[in-house]
Symmetry: D3
Subunit: 341 residues, 6 copies
């Protein structure tokens, strides 16, 4: 069995209960999530071997985050403990014309203040075949940029595939900073996920006109941009991208494109009634990785990944709590009609 | 006033709170339901006289199930007490492309292990005009098949109308078993409800191509199948069927057909935003029975029944907690617009 | 900074939790609201100066209603305390074809039994520029009709603008009573909000055919009716109206018209997935007032007001808990797509 | 089987969830209760035949109150429907040194504004053996005083036993009013419950020094007062009284005295950790009545009644949701230790 | 590090929320527990290596039970999957004089219907030093009695210590059955936990007079009975017993005795305000095992075990969610006073 | 009316719902509190004029904290907005022998990183008579130490009374740091609150033997220590101290001592069943200040303050949500017995 290591930050997520706004709520639903943790959990639930690397504080919140990963079958042996705090983010779900509001409270977290020297890559990568991170990790701190680059160098030297989901976060760094880092890291990347505005913000490549209400209509621009990525970075054998039309907080269409070993693959388009429009990209990334780990053909891989992604949009929290068979149900016609009893 | 007796199993239903999946939930919403109990409650709330027959364990859960029936006005005098346990089912509501998941935990229930000899039909049917059961009851055990057939024989001898909702459950028996039982029971049935895949699974009659996303488009196949039922079983003066287009867990269209005394009736088509897609058929059955009990004409009857059915889809739990006047509101144009204040 | 005083009744609102019907619920979500209080809170949250006038009982419920207003920045210095009780209303949210049910329990409230002599208008109106009330206030009691008329007379004498949202409530008075009062009060009104059936019920003017599922299609009838109002009452320099197509409890389209100083303004049309279809008109009124208080041009004013209105429909409770910048986000294209993080 | 009719007001009870004060709560737990309804439910759950008489509004709240009674097996056939509203009371549970706060909102209820002429006693009392009411019912309105007196007269003429729990409520009437009514009704009363300050407030008889923290220490004064009652009203063959030491909201001791047919009975003293200190007197009354209905000897009767009473203090809501066998468990030594499994 | 394997049944536990009785509750708090699972979780949280053996159904409930164990660090590699269902138990917490009510719904569970041949002891016991089970496991089925005896025989042959907590359950088997099994298993047992009525019910040894309200007062009888056990079964080097005075559901005193290698040890007595009086014995067992695994001296071991036990009584659910350092805090004077901040 | 300004940090408090530990909870109850904010709210609710000074981030959490203060009547005009985040603390309520656990997550808050130069004392103190802060404020940062000292100097120059509650927090600074700061600030302090270990940790004065389970027994040591404070700092005309016996998380006794203008006052001792053992000292401080603001005599003042304090222990959250009349109820004998209805 092949092994994936993902590296990033898992936070406590606090969501006002019962669709309230923060100002009217006196309770929060608590869950735990973060891009790379989401990917690790997805993989473990789909039967793959996934190890998660981060640093958690040595307190009750760190214990709970770690327990959550363990519950879903993620290997937590490499996780560092210590430092000041667990990052938090407040998630106020929008509705209809009111967009979802995220209040980050992640500064000064145990991961954010960790030193690159704390990561003993040789030990960490023992037995690992894929190294997965998103653009959020280097956006957290300079030290983590160093750590990621050191990890990539180690991977290159040891034939470990490097996977990067660009995942641009405008509240964490500027396009200039993101692009400057991308220039350094992309030569190591073998599999690149890049969606929506990430092309432009993270890579400086114009992919579409920025109107997320009609990403699917701009498939051709996306294809061009994806091709450009794979040409710029010849080590990058796969580039994949989710395309979306977003009509409102609840209503959207999702689709995906992938270029793998030079060939284009295009998924079906799903009409989705979104329960929580978060972590769909991570679910897509995990679906894609599941394809690599289980030798899916290109078309099956992209179809599987987008089905995993839309399934995530029906589930509360950041984690895509589904099995491979549930993903395959979505790939079949009429899954929603079948209440089996 | 005419009296209906319904016979079947009422279970404790456990639904993860706040749209969670079971694995992420630490609380369940508890309610009580089961096809024939749902029908009895609907009738009582619509002002009819309904008696429910089942067997409940003599413990706190049996007491609560019984109290629930009483709360909504059902006559519970015939209910047997004793036996090992109350059946349970876990209801994990789906969303969008993720179908609803039902985990049955009903084996070994007090009803399931009851003996046919425990049912003293002469006493039970005293004063009863209609006997209503669904295909779930005989699917529970051989003893209950015997009990149902004995009850039907008693009804035939005593001019009590027999009503059967075929209600095929693939997790409980095979099509072969269902059809074998149907052959025995259908000669007694005067009013038959049969929807979707029930035609084929329970009666061995091909009604439609099995695609629940476009049942309404296949009205003609359904009509043909319904006609076939009424010809095969001449005692069966009424055959009714719900037709559905199901686009996703939330989105569907509902309509109904009825053949009564040789004449076809067709309801309007409702576009429904589904809150819980469960027990719509039972609500339809109760609506139909309300029509018989109150001498509705055929067209009014089928229109009323389908309105009752779509109203159920807006309510949590298995019970259709509405009055006749609320059903009639739906039958009027613009009911949803009218927040009366 | 200009100051607005609003005058009316704030009630305890009790809504069954978790989308239950009242009969199946054993808990209620509690909030506080009422047309004019909603307007005052909206204005305060948008940065305007708003004072609310009412009478609350001198008990724990009155304290809590008052604290709620204070929390959101409303000036509560003029509120009277005493009398028997706080009005209550039960709000059972509908779904799809099942309309929302409101059970009023407001009779005998402290405001309802207050005397017109308790309102010392000279003191109350000190420093006030706008007096805002809705048709609900005079519908509560004869004494409040007297109070409103005395207040209007005071405003006229002191150059305070009078704003009235007709807000007809069929459970509180008859069209005859409403129209008889309107004849007395309209000569004082400078700004008149009048929606849907209000034209006919409150003013005796036929605006549309009464079908709320297609108000937007009847824009021309509305325009004619609005013109008629402004011609009948020359002091009334502004008439504004919300137009709606309501397809189901969740689905509707919202738009607005305004005639101001003889010129017509027409807002864009919003497609809305409604979370709670209540207090949208109050949010519109507050948006309109915000325009007057901040010297918006007519087109900006009506666009802003309708955006405020549709934003309200996404929020639980009666209060439009949004800031000016959040309203402006809705006015931009694609607001819902932007989860900023 | 003997039949009891109880007559009084059942209200919606709203209790802030999670031990909150009203001002900090945004949800209320809803239940239904009222002295005489509590007694009827207790009796039904103990296997007796109990009918409840009241008037409920014809709305969703009236339906729910009625369904609650039905759920627990109370006969609701005599309940009148109509009138303005269901009474409400807010229950803010205290803790330790902070007393429980009750905010009544019961004025103008359907029962409160009912006319004595609405009660057709001949029909209502058909088949009834005991008529049970508390001092709360006549405290509600003059009409209800008339109704109660007419009912008592009917009982006297028809050999129906009259039971009155004095239940003085200082927020509803004055001692003068209560005593003036008592003078009229006591000659009809056969069984009289009178606790704590009721002796003085309702009957003008000094029973103890008013210090509820040491009622049990004043047993002798109570005995004297009880004797006085039975001498003043020779028809009154039984007088029973609960004695309490109340140390804090959670901590108290409960005991009971009864004089029946001239003989005194004294129950054991229970040390109780109180969960909700409400309706303990009603539970006592129901326990006492259960004794009369099932021919308990005096000592068993008073022991049973006080055990029922302290059991109530462990249960949330106004209703004593226990069976006879659970009451008998308390009467045994060590009941609390026995978690049977 | 030494390894412990525990073997038994973990069930879904359903507890009415907010201290409700089952009949008044419409939601349940869900957790997972069972004697031997509780021990495994305790050990893992105290830093020991614990493996749990059971059989879970291959459905969403089995997944969740398994995830719960994993979350707390238990090794789940040996757990069998398949079979009909997960056992359930309803837990209605008592209060004061009202005892806690447990409704078992565990018949027909996957473990209960498992065959002894499914347990491959050689593989299961690889690397294991201690085998821990309670008397509940053999009470479930004859097959499990066989399985336990085969396991014990394997342990004897392979120098694995056998630990048995007698844990008599009167709802599962009779004293005769329990004693008959004990005769077979006790010769294998090296460490025996036996509390309260277990001496008599499981071993046929009279330990005390059966009055759980004064177990601590009967220390000497317990000592005698413990001595008797160790003399009857010479392989049994350690016998430990919890002694309790139980005054009410909330109030009790806890203490412990141990005879180890012929010497008696006696813990301090704790006065406890009980939050949930369940699984205290399992916490004690885990504390004792922690002592063996970490070479505690006898006195430290029994002090530690009783502190673990009383800590459990302060936590909801069956699992003792505490660390070694939290247990040591209790062993210090004044732990409760120290809110560290 | 005299005006009090309090200065400190208000945090979001997150408490696992339903008595869960953090690791088993998936929701948190949210409230807002902090020593000096608690005092300001208490004063406002008791009818005094209180202004609160702090710095809140300009986000939804800052808005909500501010709204909470406003709700309870605190003047928020001086509050600064901006900076990175709102401090958070997790509050895991203990039970019995398990102490309450507080996890601070307050580093880097908007207040913590504010500069002393941001506080324009002249403007802030306009109209203020009393300046109230606790030892927590200077423990947050060096800048806040400077700010506090500058404020004290301003007060001295302008005849504003300075009140300090020593409130030592061992997780925030060391005794050495605290004492070093105390040396600088105490010469300015006119009213000093100092409890338990504060004497030693903050002032270097030995008050008692450190055993919080018997503070009340050591009254004489406390008196000596208080006297010492008032002699060391002659400006300090009042020293007050709460004395406690803490038996468990729920059980304690509370009492108070005050030396004012050279005279000792001693309150009664209250036995308290504690609901939440937090902010009792702040409630005491507010009670004391209420006495100064309303010219209470010494004995009334200390009696009132301790009653306010024990009342707080019965309420969830940090805020003492009570009125003066509710405090006076506690001062009377038998308050808990009186459920007024």
């Amino acid at each position: 069995m092949k092994n994936v290591l993902t590296f990033g930050e898992m936070m406590l997520r606090l969501k006002p209960s019962a669709n309230n706004r923060i100002v009217q709520s006196n309770s929060f639903e608590a869950s735990y999530g973060g891009a790379e943790a989401n990917v690790a959990v997805s993989l473990a639930l789909q039967g793959d071997s996934a190890t998660y690397l981060t640093k958690f504080p040595d307190n009750l919140l760190g214990d709970t985050a770690l327990g959550t990963l363990r519950k879903y079958g993620v290997n937590t042996d490499q996780i560092l403990r210590g430092g000041p705090r667990l990052g938090i983010y407040f998630f106020e779900k929008g509705a209809s014309v009111r967009g979802t509001t995220v209040v980050y409270d992640r500064a000064g977290s145990s991961l954010a203040v960790s030193k690159s020297s704390e990561y003993d890559w040789k030990n960490i990568f023992s037995g690992i075949d894929y190294f997965y991170f998103s653009g959020i990790t280097p956006a957290i701190s300079k030290e983590l940029q160093t750590a990621v680059l050191e990890a990539c160098q180690y991977c290159k030297n040891n034939n470990i595939q490097v996977v990067c989901d660009m995942n641009y976060r405008g509240k964490m760094w500027t396009p200039e900073e993101a692009q400057s880092f991308s220039k350094k890291v992309m030569p190591f990347v073998n599999i690149c996920l890049v969606h929506d505005e990430d092309f432009e913000a993270s890579l400086g490549i114009k992919s579409f006109d920025g109107d997320m209400s009609r990403g699917i209509e701009q498939k051709d621009s996306f294809k061009k941009a994806m091709k450009q990525v794979s040409e710029l970075y010849p080590n990058c054998h796969t580039v994949a991208s989710v395309l979306r039309n977003i009509y409102s907080v609840e209503d959207s269409k999702w689709s995906a494109l992938m270029i793998r070993d030079g060939e284009f693959y295009e998924s079906p388009v799903y009409q989705v009634h979104v329960y929580e429009g978060v972590a769909g990209g991570d679910a897509f990334g995990a679906g894609l990785m599941h394809g690599f780990l289980n030798d899916f053909k290109g078309q099956e891989q992209v179809n599987y990944a987008i089905a995993a992604s839309v399934l995530k949009l029906t589930i509360g929290g950041d984690l895509n709590l589904v099995s491979e068979s549930e993903i395959r149900d979505v790939m079949k016609k009429d899954s929603a009609t079948a209440m089996k009893r």
